[in-house]
């Protein structure tokens, strides 16, 4: 499929640096999360998105705090890119009462409305129908707010994807459907589970534009996201972006990657978008090596501070089992 995007908006120097900052914040946060799990300091299922950083970073620089995202279990990167503060994020991952969900949701259900992180679902495909509701609300409110629904390639085969895209197409909702196509649905290769060669082609069936994007190129992600977001803000309706990428750490942290060859993994990792984009910023004179190292150090300090904070927070009281079931607390 040829790229039909016209009017490619390109990120200026400051925006490129902002994209990189978000990418490195995702990558550092992910690295530290895996280290904490390896050291036995956190007990939680973890779905690393290492390798996919360009996608939420390239999109989030175009979003405002009140723009919303609905994401999935591999979505911590989407929240970090949306500038969610790391202290409550880490406290939640650690199951502490100061976590954004008081330790009741964990890494698969992080929520932070202040930065627009509305829903994180552990059910494949379920971010999309709910994102539509935020889109409907934005139309009713008469705002220019947009909602991004993040999901993976596997989710494009579940009924909810098709129902949600159809409804968004009929109602012309300001929703951007962002599929991170990392080539594997859990352990199943894309071509063994998906009857079409490009997920973006499915947009045709729902009356919306669909683009296949180089998900490892933040500039390409930005250009397509820009068009999709502008279209949504202009009241013209939804867009489907299929961002081609690769996940370096398998489906769930600790899986043995037995379903892919060593060669293809090595080849994909050699194309790690992070060092490539870093070098581009230096080559283009957008930042110096020293500036980027300082940025990385600052982000590492932020992550370490968040971990220290989280590890020192209390665990929630058992009374929490009776709270938030309904608005009114359930009597003991």
């Amino acid at each position: 499929m040829t790229d039909t995007l016209t009017n490619r908006a390109l990120p200026d120097a400051a925006t490129q640096l902002d994209i990189y900052r978000r990418m490195i914040r995702i990558e550092r946060n992910d690295e530290f999360t895996r280290a904490q799990i390896r050291q036995g300091r956190i007990h939680a299922p973890y779905y690393s998105a290492r390798g996919q950083e360009c996608i939420p970073a390239g999109i989030s620089v175009l979003l405002n705090d009140d723009d919303k995202i609905c994401t999935i279990y591999r979505g911590i990167q989407d929240m970090v890119a949306k500038n969610m503060p790391l202290r409550p994020l880490w406290a939640e991952i650690c199951g502490r009462v100061d976590g954004t969900c008081k330790g009741k949701g964990g890494p698969m259900h992080l929520t932070h409305p202040e930065t627009g992180v509305m829903v994180t679902t552990g059910i494949v495909g379920s971010s999309m129908p709910i994102a539509n509701g935020f889109g409907w609300a934005a139309l009713l409110d008469g705002t220019k707010q947009v909602t991004v629904a993040y999901f993976g390639d596997g989710a494009s085969n579940i009924g909810a994807f098709h129902e949600a895209l159809n409804l968004a197409g009929v109602w012309k909702l300001p929703v951007i459907f962002v599929c991170s196509n990392n080539g594997f649905a859990e352990h199943t290769r894309f071509e063994n589970g998906t009857a079409v060669d490009q997920i973006s082609k499915r947009a045709i069936g729902y009356g919306m534009p669909g683009y296949t994007v180089d998900g490892n190129d933040p500039v390409d992600v930005y250009a397509h996201a820009h068009a999709a977001i502008e279209r949504a803000r202009a009241g013209e309706g939804p867009t489907l972006l299929e961002c081609k990428t690769f996940r370096f750490m398998g489906h769930v942290f600790g899986d043995a990657d037995g379903y892919m060859t060593k060669e293809e993994k090595a080849e994909a990792m050699a194309k790690d978008p992070l060092p490539i984009f870093r070098q581009k910023l230096i080559d283009d004179g957008i930042a110096t090596e020293e500036q980027l190292e300082a940025m990385k150090a600052e982000i590492e300090a932020e992550v370490k501070d968040a971990i220290d904070f989280a590890m020192n927070c209390e665990f929630p009281s058992d009374d929490e089992l009776r709270r938030d079931v309904f608005a009114e607390e359930i009597p003991a």
């Binding site: 409305p113 609300a137 139309l139 129902e163 409804l167 309904f326």
Partner: protein, 335 residues
């Protein structure tokens, strides 16, 4: 309530729900309605419950949807989280099964999983009930499934007045509520106070006082119960009838007080008897009133099979007045 002092209007359940939706939408612009065929272009709902709403409030607030139950509930969840109060129709209760992920994993759990940051003030309207030969996929009572899910309230009204009052409450409730409209309850006219206001969720209604046995029921089964109670009275048995109205969270206080007073309890519902709401009620009452009851708690519900088609089988499937009379007499005879 005396008809001398309160002006009464004769209406059926369908009209009462329509009136509640009209009032709620008029009073609060955050109230939305969505579902298959619900706007006036599509006939105002499969039986006309939402007739007139889209003409009055416009098709941005009253939206017909594709036949996409997950998309319907998903859109309602998102809008609810964004500050709206959507009333989503899932045409028939059997079709809620298609949207179970949205209802059970999301609507019911988002408040808890988010530590109270999210709220989903959503009402799901759905119709069901056997008696019209609609067979195995259009008539089931699945309230026990939802009662077993923490975070969603389950309401099954009987009278038009209750429909009006319970809808007004449910729409303003901060949590998800599923309201089941059982076939016959939509079409039988009864008196409704002209100024009927909200009726609190979670409160049962003692519709007939009695001394020998308490009968708990809800929804269209109440018609059957009332018929049986009349015949029991002729046989000299005084039954106290409790219309549960809200099945979860249910009004333990009223049921326990009544069962303690009469010493006998019979729970009757159209849902299957196995693992049905009656089992929970019976267990709770026997636990609380062990030693005070004169007979074990009786339960009547559908047999362990799908809703059948043939009229003869459907009649046998449904709890009929003679079964209630027989069971009540058996319990009364025990002591």
């Amino acid at each position: 309530m005396s008809t001398d002092t309160v002006e009464m209007v004769k209406m059926n359940g369908l009209q009462a729900i329509n009136s509640a939706l009209m009032e709620a939408m008029e009073a609060d612009e955050k109230v939305l309605v969505l579902g298959e065929d619900i706007a006036d272009n599509e006939g105002g709902g499969v039986v006309g419950v939402t007739r007139g709403l889209s003409t009055k409030f416009g098709t941005m607030r009253v939206k017909s949807t594709p036949i996409s139950e997950q998309a319907i509930i998903g859109a309602a969840i998102g809008a609810a989280m964004a500050g709206y109060k959507p009333v989503a129709e899932i045409m028939l209760m059997n079709f809620t099964t298609v949207a179970m992920d949205m209802i059970v994993n999301h609507a019911a759990k988002l408040r808890f999983m988010s530590g109270g940051q999210s709220q989903v003030p959503l009402v799901i309207r759905t119709l069901t009930g056997a008696g019209n030969q609609t067979a195995g996929q259009h008539a089931d009572f699945y309230e026990a499934w939802f009662c077993h899910t923490a975070g969603i309230k389950v309401v099954i009204p009987w009278t038009p007045a209750d429909f009006k009052g319970l809808y007004l409450s449910a729409i303003q409730d901060p949590d998800p509520v599923i309201i089941v409209e059982s076939g016959k309850t939509l079409f039988v006219p009864m008196d409704v106070p002209a100024n009927q206001g909200p009726i609190p969720l979670g409160k049962a209604n003692i519709v007939a006082p009695g001394t020998d046995i308490t009968i708990v029921s809800y929804g269209q089964m109440m018609f059957t119960v009332m018929e049986a109670v009349g015949k029991l009275a002729e046989a000299g048995i005084s039954a106290e009838v409790v219309d549960l109205r809200t099945i979860s969270p249910w009004d333990k206080e009223t049921v326990l007080a009544s069962a303690e007073k009469t010493g006998r309890l019979l729970v009757v519902h159209e849902a299957g008897k196995n693992f049905g709401p009656g089992a929970e009620i019976a267990a709770t009452v026997q636990d609380a009133l062990f030693g005070k009851l004169k007979a074990p708690v009786g339960r009547l519900g559908a047999p362990y099979c799908s809703v059948p088609f043939a009229k003869k089988l459907e009649d046998a499937f449904l709890v009929q007045p003679p079964a209630i009379i027989e069971e009540a007499k058996r319990l009364v005879a025990m002591g």
